[in-house]
Symmetry: D2
Subunit: 147 residues, 4 copies
């Protein structure tokens, strides 16, 4: 398994994975335009926008992660937000998610922005089994503006 | 009470409030350079960096909030992160925090980025009494990279 | 303010308080028979059933608590479950709830069953401000059989 | 796999399982007297004390549960507290814990005390995957008297 940056030729496999991810979070039937736009941004290599990493083995994409650096008022160097993380169901148990998170850590170090955070549902038990090992639960919870 | 943008002449009162805020979160004794840098960023009017709002009555600052717009991969327009929120202890119970949050909502609408979120400690009971009224608990919790 | 055992003559004031308590938890309109039965049990002085304590000042009941001892397999002496705790709205801020909890601690010690626990809604912020001072959040959450 | 009441001849296997359970919760090295006392109580068939159920296949105990009925002031019939639940590590994934919980439901129904509850650590992810299916998270958290 190799962790590497997302590439143009990954588009079909990437879309299949990212669509599964959104279905998992009850957002089915996203239009192609949604994926077009997200993929274009990920591929654009804009340092102020999202970056994509994928886990690949034998030409098959096993998982993906998307992260972005954004300003933080207490940290002049900013912070890194790992927004999306997904492993294909038949690739679970092989350390894909852990390898992707650790690759984001490495990318964050390389950018001089070592602080990385992510958000997860309190009931994402399978995810939290991993997150408690590679991360630290902060005790902070998220509130949203009702829209 | 008026909610307005932070201004250069607010520096002494702003620093007193922001220092209290950090002490509340167990970050005492921040150096002046920390406040210099944060204030410079807030005043710079850089659309991609933090903005500051304050609540003022009779020339006295009663509270502050700092927010930033950052990219979101699912929302082309991005999202608004309300990072800091503080009310002076002797101004509590007057609706300062609510007015500041609502002013961020208004600013977010004006920027075409209506989604606003913030994070709070699970045990910030006084804050959550308000947040449950002006916001919605998302069920998401934050994990940090251990550094 | 005095903390003392519930007495027969407390019935009218006790029912008013206990009814408010149930309304607070979205159980309005409980029939008189409910209160009859509960009061009879509380007054009966059966060591294996519930006990009641009230806070009184100038003949007015300001608050109540009900507790029971039940077996615990790891503790031969059993444990004490503080089930109900309520302070009249206009008596808040006077330490009523704290005094009632501490009186249960004293009663538990006297019974040779010093372990005391209670359950509260995660969003009972006002309660938890007190509970974090007089108790310790255990990290345990309650599951119910769906009925 | 059969779910049945604990029997005298189960003592050696029961103790091995129950000791593992306590080690899992960081209570190692409990003395034999602890197990003597608990087993005696479980076998005694005292309706006001703890009951034990085990899952057995081919003479091997795969799991155990211990429950007790205790008074509840709002429910004249009382409530059932499922205190201990454990599956041997090499018997996981076979539905042992689910079968044990459901057997407690059946026993509770038979006793005319259908309400059953249990407590679990917020971070017991493997357990909660099951509990969210057979039970309902109540939103209540436990506080303990500090001892």
């Amino acid at each position: 398994m190799e962790i590497r940056a997302l590439r143009s030729e990954d588009r079909p496999q990437w879309q299949a994975l990212y669509d599964d991810y959104h279905r998992f979070y009850d957002r089915p039937d996203l239009p192609d335009a949604f994926f077009d736009q997200a993929f274009t941004r990920l591929i654009a290599d804009d340092p102020s926008d999202f970056h994509g990493l994928v886990a690949e083995a034998d030409g098959i994409l096993l998982g993906l992660t998307h992260y972005v650096f954004h300003p933080h008022l207490w940290r002049p160097e900013g912070t890194c937000y790992l927004q999306d993380l997904y492993t294909a169901p038949d690739a679970r148990g092989r350390g894909v998610a852990r390898a992707l998170i650790e690759a984001v850590y490495t990318a964050a170090d390389r950018s001089g922005t070592p602080a990385v955070y992510w958000l997860t549902q309190e009931t994402n038990y399978a995810g939290r089994m991993l997150y408690d090992r590679v991360g630290r639960q902060s005790g902070f919870i998220r509130y949203n503006r009702p829209l």
